[in-house]
């Protein structure tokens, strides 16, 4: 006979037995903080994609992970004093033989983490695979049909861009951005080992993805010597306060994307060090150029003249640097543009009247989309921009969205992307300016603004096809960039500042302006 009491007793016993099996019995934790070679714990603000193929994404956090594991032909420190500096790594030299041919000579003492020796075939396979038109991360100046890669010997690579008609020098800055993959991995195709794990020649070897943590261990045969620390654990932690608390209590060794207030909080502490770098990322107000009213350059330019960027700079504080160009100051070809639109209400009104919207009359209701939770202060300066635009007669409504909803609306689509203006940054870890300019302003790509303008296309092609770097710099500074300032398909609001916080006992890290981190010489002082 089952009674309520019997049933209850039996149920309680069963639940107890189940709970005993399920509840974590690890009642204690051990701190490894005292060890001088313990793994580095890196907390990231962004999640990863779930596909390890480096050509399958443009996600910054995953690019940072690649920076620990993969090898690069060269690295670009991109410091303001010498933005174009290149430091050779897998390559010993990169020389331009003539306008369309580049010779890359390689080191001979390197192996991949899976034991395969690094050779010219790997560079050839990487270039040919990564430039296929169907690869999601389109970084190359042209598809694999536009250039040819030959390998005269195991340690020499020749890139010939004659077929594409553009200069071979475009591969120089790219060399600092393209992780070199193993030819054997590439032979497995996009569904092969590339998508399952990272295999590179960098200082740390990919071990596993454990929940939100990517676990890497020191690669003993790293060509610059065995890294001092045991490894790197790279974890996604979405909340900025949580990341900061982790750094303060020593659970994290390094955290990224500090907010300006957090910078101020941590600045005076003896146990924390801060790194503040002008980044490769500019933040933009993108106009949807393929639909009214921003299909008229005068309306776009009028909107630019309505915005006082000095107010935005004040809001951002340590997290931003003033910008007068469409590319970061540490990109090749940067210069302060004389015709970059400044705050000028009279000019704004003149242009509005000329476009047929005196004092903004006749303009449709405009939606300005921004995000909250990833970039610093977007809501705050979004409200300022909205107010300034309204002052000049633009009937703007600000729509603040959490990241997923904003991301869903970000890119251009047939008939124009959602809304009329949208906030977004663009960061590419190379001095190469076309990773921003061609991606966004050429009618074959037009990622966010959707602009189709034959004059801009022609200017982009002219600078790409320049015979030498000097000629290209000249064309960027006197032709393309001033033209973009006039036509204003977007307004670059400021250059982001990459702020990292790290434990004071950690030394030897080198942080690149896109957030990639060289931890091969990192040490902990005990």
């Amino acid at each position: 006979m089952i009674s309520r009491r019997n049933f209850l007793s039996a149920s309680a016993l069963a639940c107890g037995a189940l709970a005993t099996a399920r509840i974590d019995p690890d009642f204690f934790f051990t701190s490894a903080r005292a060890q001088s070679n313990r793994p580095i714990t890196f907390l990231s603000a962004e999640n990863i994609t779930g596909n390890w193929d480096p050509t399958a994404h443009t996600t910054l956090s995953q690019t940072t992970i690649q920076g620990f594991v993969m090898g690069y032909l060269a690295r670009a420190p991109m410091r303001p004093e010498d933005p174009g500096e290149m430091v050779m790594e897998l390559a010993t030299s990169i020389e331009q033989l003539d306008p369309h041919r580049l010779e890359i000579r390689l080191r001979e003492d390197i192996t991949f983490h899976d034991g395969k020796p690094f050779r010219a075939e790997d560079v050839k396979a990487t270039f040919e695979y990564g430039s296929q038109p169907d690869r999601p991360a389109q970084w190359y100046p042209g598809s694999n049909e536009t250039f040819e890669v030959t390998t005269p010997d195991d340690y020499t690579v020749i890139v010939d861009t004659s077929k594409g008609g553009y200069g071979a020098h475009l591969f120089i800055f790219l060399a600092a951005y393209l992780p070199i993959m193993s030819a054997s991995d590439i032979s497995g195709g996009p569904r092969g080992p590339l998508s399952q794990r990272l295999n590179g020649t960098g200082p740390f070897r990919f071990v596993e993805q454990r929940g939100n943590s990517t676990v890497m261990e020191a690669f003993p045969d790293y060509y610059k010597g065995h890294p001092t620390v045991e490894g790197v654990t790279f974890s996604f932690v979405g909340d900025a306060t949580t990341r900061m608390l982790s750094l303060m209590n020593g659970q994290a060794d390094i955290i990224e994307r500090l907010e300006p207030e957090q910078f101020a909080t941590l600045e005076g502490r003896d146990d924390i060090k801060l790194s503040r770098l002008v980044s490769v990322e500019n933040k933009y107000l993108w106009f949807r150029c393929s639909k009214p009213p921003f299909d008229d350059w005068r309306v776009r330019r009028a909107a630019c003249h309505a915005i006082d960027r000095t107010v935005i700079d004040e809001i951002l504080g340590t997290a931003g640097e003033p910008s007068s160009n469409f590319i970061s100051p540490i990109k090749f070809g940067y210069s302060d543009l004389a015709n970059y639109p400044e705050y000028d209400p009279e000019e704004c009104q003149r242009l509005l009247a000329e476009a047929g919207y005196p004092n903004g009359e006749g303009l449709p209701d405009l939606e300005y989309i921004t995000s909250t939770g990833f970039y610093p202060k977007t809501r705050d300066y979004g409200e300022i921009i909205t107010m300034l635009l309204r002052e000049q007669g633009f009937p703007v409504t600000l729509n603040v969205m959490e990241v997923a909803a904003w991301n869903e609306r970000l890119y251009d689509r047939p008939g124009g992307g959602p809304g009329h203006m949208i906030d977004c940054g663009w960061s590419t870890g190379s001095p190469e300016p076309d990773l921003v300019l061609r991606t966004h302003f050429h009618s074959s790509s037009k990622r966010i603004c959707g602009i189709e303008d034959a004059e801009i296309d022609a200017a982009l092609d002219r600078e790409r096809n320049a015979a030498t770097l000097e000629e290209r710099r000249e064309l960027l500074q006197t032709d393309l960039l001033p033209m973009l300032a006039d036509k204003a398909p977007a307004l670059s609001l400021f250059t982001s500042v990459m702020i990292h916080g790290m434990r004071a006992e950690m030394d030897g890290l080198f942080i690149y302006p896109d957030g990639l981190t060289d931890a091969s010489k990192a040490v902990f002082s005990t």
Binding site: F28, F29, T49, S195, V237
Partner: protein
């Protein structure tokens, strides 16, 4: 036989509640902004491809048709696969549109099974902490109505209930973890990582337990059977433990049942602040990524847990007080 009828009736009611919750969540997810296909396929995907994928996945069918298909799978024990997460369980963003190579997607049931024990552990510990603090204060308040223990119970409860959990979490982490170094605060690498979030949740729960106990003990102590117990020669301690507390435990059990259910499904803020990898953090990431199958799965599991806990509470209360019939 009563127990079988009772169980059958309550489980049938519970199933209806779970299906209704599932339907509401299912519908809401499909009307809020944020197309999951665009998130899965990547922002650069052309509209035609988005529509093609959505059609293939059945996401453009009428909502009742989609729901019917979904609930049929659930009935077979299949909560589906996450839209976003690979089998490794990482919280991931979208890749690009023509990327068919992403790792195998994680099963929703596996993700929930991984996270739920940690939330269960957190909820149980929070409840233990809350009871340790609240029972003596609440009972003392009930035994001395109008006097200082009663006033202390009231003031303490008011203070606890006024503390926002996100603020308390940050302050306690700063104090106990950063300043004093007594406890770890962020993530989960062992039982110690549960203590700090459990304290925050306990502070949140304690006022309700204190108030319930104070009121119910005070009421019971005014009952005639308590006076009779004194006449029977029972000591004050015996009266309190064997009569007052036993009777006061019925409303307390009901309260704890509701609180525990809420903890299982709603520790979102606390798990997010402490980056505690339980159901709350899983839910937040799933919502931010529009991971429909995962959100639906969590909603079904937590509503089912709510139903089962309430059935267990009803059974327990009838065991304590046989006069109660359900």
């Amino acid at each position: 036989m009563f127990i079988m009828v009772f169980l059958a009736k309550r489980l049938a009611q519970g199933t209806l509640i779970v299906v209704l919750v599932a339907f509401v969540i299912f519908t809401l997810l499909r009307v809020v902004p944020g197309d999951p296909v665009r998130l899965m396929a990547g922002g650069m995907a052309p509209e035609t491809l988005i529509e093609q994928i959505a059609t293939e996945m059945g996401l453009r069918d009428p909502i009742p048709v989609q729901f019917g298909r979904y609930i049929a799978s659930v009935a077979q024990g299949d909560l589906g696969q996450s839209f976003m997460r690979p089998a490794s369980g990482a919280a991931v963003g979208g890749a690009s549109f023509d990327d068919m190579t992403r790792s195998e997607r994680a099963r929703v049931l596996d993700l929930i099974a991984e996270a739920a024990p940690k939330t269960l552990q957190l909820a149980l510990l929070a409840m233990v902490f809350a009871l340790i603090v609240a029972v003596p204060i609440g009972v003392a308040g009930g035994l001395h109505p109008g006097r200082w223990p009663d006033r202390m119970a009231l003031y303490l409860g008011s203070v606890f209930v006024s503390l926002p959990n996100f603020w308390l979490g940050i302050v306690l982490a700063l104090l106990l973890s950063v300043k004093l170094g007594w406890l770890p605060a962020i993530g989960y690498r062992g039982f110690a990582y549960t203590v700090l979030p459990a304290i925050v949740l306990a502070v949140e729960m304690a006022p309700f337990i204190i108030r319930t106990l104070t009121v119910s003990v005070a009421q019971i102590m005014r009952q005639s059977f308590i006076d009779i117990a004194r006449i029977r020669g029972l000591s004050r301690l015996q009266i309190i433990v064997r009569h007052a507390l036993k009777n006061a435990s019925v409303p307390l059990l009901n309260l704890l049942g509701v609180q525990f259910s809420m903890l299982l499904g709603g520790v979102l803020v606390v798990e997010f602040i402490f980056d505690y990898p339980g159901l709350g953090l899983l839910t937040i990431n799933a919502v931010l990524q529009r991971d429909f199958p995962l959100i639906q799965g969590i909603a079904i599991v937590t509503s089912a847990a709510f139903v089962l806990i309430n059935i267990a509470v009803d059974l327990a209360t009838t065991a304590i007080d046989p006069r109660l019939e359900y």
